[in-house]
């Protein structure tokens, strides 16, 4: 392992630049005192949430080349289902499972109703279509539920078990753990025969059909998977703030996308890394003098990060060109 890394460094010295910059930034943040350290911790925690969204986005993109703007709505649907079930005193675990199931069902409906008829359309058209799905879902939620913010209880309520500079709630720890588990599970999935079939279908749909693999079924499978992931994200993130219709989309989706693209849109580890980078950037932008002088400074930082990284390295940090 170590020799392999050394060989690669010898063959390609430039591969040291990226990790070098990363380590330098972390050291600088740690050394810059309280602001930097707090931003690092907050960034890691919120970044985990973005990673969760980003992984679902990567999954869809990797398997079909679609930028899925409906990913956040899978989460919001799950939040609403969980909330309604909890109002009727359904046990938390069962309610959460049903909520994630509802999201998966939505994923299946979207795949059959919108994605399949447009299978051969240009990818930008599909982007517009998934954005339409998100808007429709948002519109229906507004219509049926109104715009009132609602509060969803977290799975774990204790907030001060762990203290690293700031108190980290158990729910946040759960999110971190889920990100790790899901990341590993998805990476393993793409090593299985089924996962390889999904990759094959994304690269050569016709050839995949010819060797007897149903591309249509694979597409349905991937969308259900992504919706499951989105639903899971919703169930976990719904309790972080009072939620309104379109909560996951408006609060997490755009930064999740930014994270996925920064990390390299086809790379699962990249999605996690991108999430952390976006989280730290956002925390830095909202902290200190910058946050006081410009409203929404966090977003300015992430926008600049996105433009800079795409301009310098269009395939993203861990993506392959």
């Amino acid at each position: 392992m170590a020799t392999a890394v050394l060989d690669r460094v010898r063959a390609e010295p430039r591969s040291l630049i990226g990790p070098g910059i990363g380590i330098a930034v972390i050291v600088a943040l740690l050394a810059s005192g309280n602001t930097g350290q707090t931003a690092l911790v907050i960034g890691l925690i919120t970044g985990a949430a973005y990673s969760l969204l980003a992984m679902g986005i990567v999954l869809i993109y990797k398997s079909s080349g679609i930028f899925n703007f409906a990913q956040g709505e899978f989460g919001t649907i799950a939040i609403f289902v969980l909330y309604l079930l909890r109002l009727n005193d359904v046990p938390y675990l069962l309610a959460a499972l049903l909520a994630v199931g509802a999201a998966a069902l939505l994923g299946l409906v979207v795949e059959t109703g919108v994605i399949r008829p447009l299978a051969d359309a240009p990818r930008v058209t599909l982007l517009v279509a998934t954005a339409g799905v998100a808007l429709l879902s948002l519109g229906v939620q507004l219509w049926l539920g109104g715009a009132t913010p609602r509060v969803l209880e977290p799975a774990f309520t204790r907030a001060d078990r762990l203290r690293v500079i700031i108190a980290i709630s158990d729910q946040r720890l759960l999110i971190l753990a889920v990100v790790v588990v899901v990341g590993i599970a998805l990476a393993l999935f793409f090593k299985t025969n089924l996962g390889l079939a999904v990759l094959a279908a994304s690269q050569e749909a016709t050839a995949t059909n010819l060797v007897g693999i149903s591309v249509r079924r694979l597409s349905a499978l991937v969308w259900v998977q992504a919706a499951l992931l989105g639903g899971l994200a919703g169930v976990l993130l719904g309790s972080t703030e009072p939620f309104t219709p379109g909560f996951v989309t408006s609060r997490y989706l755009i930064l999740g996308f930014t994270a996925a693209v920064i990390g390299g849109i086809t790379s699962l580890p990249g999605a996690v890394l991108g999430g952390v980078i976006v989280g730290v950037g956002e925390a830095l932008g909202s902290a200190g003098t910058l946050g006081d002088s410009i409203p929404g400074g966090g977003f300015v930082i992430t926008f600049l990060l996105l433009v800079a990284i795409l301009a310098l390295r269009p395939q993203g940090l861990l993506g392959r060109s």
Binding site: F67, G113, V114, P117, L118, D120, A121, P122, R123, V124, T125, L127, V128, A129, A131, G132, V133, L135, L136, L138, G139, V140, L142, W143, L144, G146, S250, I254, F257, T258, V261, I294, P295, G296, G297, F299, V300, T302, F303, L306, V307, L310, A311, P314
Partner: protein
């Protein structure tokens, strides 16, 4: 809107035998007779009467709504230049429009300069900011660029439009309406005419053909001597200028604008109305944009519309029967065995019919009665995206496809339904 009022029984003219030269004969020789011209003239007169007459007849207060419709049409045309002509999608048009709005609010509202100067400034600033983004689009294209525009739009809403010194922060900035509401509507209409004329000249010129060529395939266009970079930038600047104009007119119509007026959802609404209108169809985009702008107003004022929407206990079962029947018929036509489609269709028809029938199913019908009324405000949020999905999957040419035959008929050709049909919504960006 009034397009459907076309007289269906326009007289059929005899075709005069003309010497056919090459393969350009036949249809080109068709000339409508006197009756045909009268029918065409009547339709044009009716359209003009609606556009000019209705705001004059109705309460002057309603004119603000009509002006919004015109402004939305300008914005739709602006987005059409980007998506339809250059093949680049913008999900940040809320910021494009917002920049124009805050520019004129600053020039006219804060500095006290005349209205036209504010509009001119908005147009220039709009073109300049879109020049910067266009430069970026040359390096980053396709889906990535879509994300950049999205990000730019959100940054505008969250950050730039919140800067107190420029935009008045949360309280918003004021841009007074220069004239009375009815006169202002006609001013907007004049600007729309100018935009239409520029758009038309742009596409008919060498530059326009170059733009269309590079949308189809930038590499081929480049090899044929089209300066891809320059024309992409031109497309962006024209779109930005239109958007700036739309924003300025929007601001003077709304009087007070704040960052909340230009949220991310507005950008999506702009994309929806452009695609539903039919890319590259000016008439379709004007119709769909003004429809979306007026939807709330129409639901509220057209007699019976609001009450119909409120009867959801009737509408939903009817919809269920309709969708179910369509599924069943589609499955029968293909003569396949039982499939999920058939089952879903049958269940929908059955449920819908049961609810409509005198037999009461307490559980279902109580739930139906609990569904909140679809308010005029909410109707746009639900109807808009639903229409978008329908257009994308079923009617790729959008409204433009529907009005194209009428358009051709108006210019003195024979009526032909098959004109303007498209196979798919072409947002071709081969660089994606």
């Amino acid at each position: 809107m009034a397009v459907t009022d076309r007289p269906v029984d326009a007289p059929v003219e005899p075709i005069e035998p003309t010497p056919v030269t090459g393969d350009a004969g036949g249809t080109a020789a068709f000339r409508p007779g006197a009756g045909g011209w009268v029918a065409r003239g009547a339709l044009v007169a009716l359209l003009v009467a609606v556009v000019v007459g209705v705001p004059l007849v109705r309460d002057p207060l309603d004119s603000a709504e009509f002006a919004t419709a015109v402004v939305f049409a300008i914005i739709g045309l602006s987005l059409n230049v980007l998506i339809g002509y250059t093949g680049t999608i913008s999900l940040g048009h809320n910021a494009f429009v917002g920049v124009g709005a805050f520019t004129t609010a600053y020039v006219v509202g804060a500095q006290g300069q005349p209205f036209l100067l504010g509009v001119a400034a908005a147009v220039v600033i709009g073109a300049v900011q879109s020049l910067i983004l266009g430069g970026l689009a040359l390096r980053i294209s396709g889906l990535y660029f879509a994300l950049i525009t999205l990000s730019f739009g959100v940054m505008g809403q969250e950050s730039i439009f919140g800067i107190e010194a420029l935009t008045g922060g949360g309280a918003g900035a004021t841009a007074p309406t220069p004239t009375g509401p009815v006169a202002y509507y006609f001013i907007c209409l004049g600007f729309l005419g100018a935009v239409l004329w520029i758009d038309w000249r742009l596409i008919r010129s060498k530059g326009g053909r170059a733009l269309l060529a590079l949308r189809e395939n930038p590499r081929v266009a480049a090899s044929l001597g089209v300066n891809v970079k320059a024309y992409t930038i031109v497309g962006f600047m024209v779109s930005g200028a239109f958007a700036g104009l739309g924003g300025a007119l929007f601001a003077h119509n709304a009087v007070v604008v704040s960052a909340q007026s230009f949220g991310f959802q507005l950008a999506l609404l702009f994309v929806i109305m452009t695609v539903v209108g039919g890319l590259r169809s000016r008439v379709g985009i004007i119709i769909s944009s003004s429809l979306f702008a007026l939807l709330t107003f129409l639901v509220r004022t057209v007699p019976g519309f609001e009450r119909t929407l409120a009867r959801f206990d009737l509408l939903l079962p009817i919809l269920a029967v309709g969708v179910g029947a369509a599924l069943l018929i589609g499955a029968l036509r293909r003569r396949r065995g039982p499939s999920p489609r058939v089952v879903v269709g049958a269940v929908l028809v059955l449920l819908g019919a049961l609810v409509l029938s005198p037999v009461t199913i307490p559980f279902l019908e109580d739930r139906l009665a609990e569904i909140p009324v679809l308010t005029p405000e909410a109707s746009r949020n639900v109807v808009g995206p639903a229409l978008l999905l329908l257009v994308l999957t079923r009617l790729p040419g959008g409204i433009g496809q529907l009005v194209k035959p009428v358009q051709r008929w108006l210019t003195g050709e024979r009526f032909d339904w098959s004109i303007g049909k498209e196979k798919e919504v072409q947002i071709t960006d081969v660089r994606a």
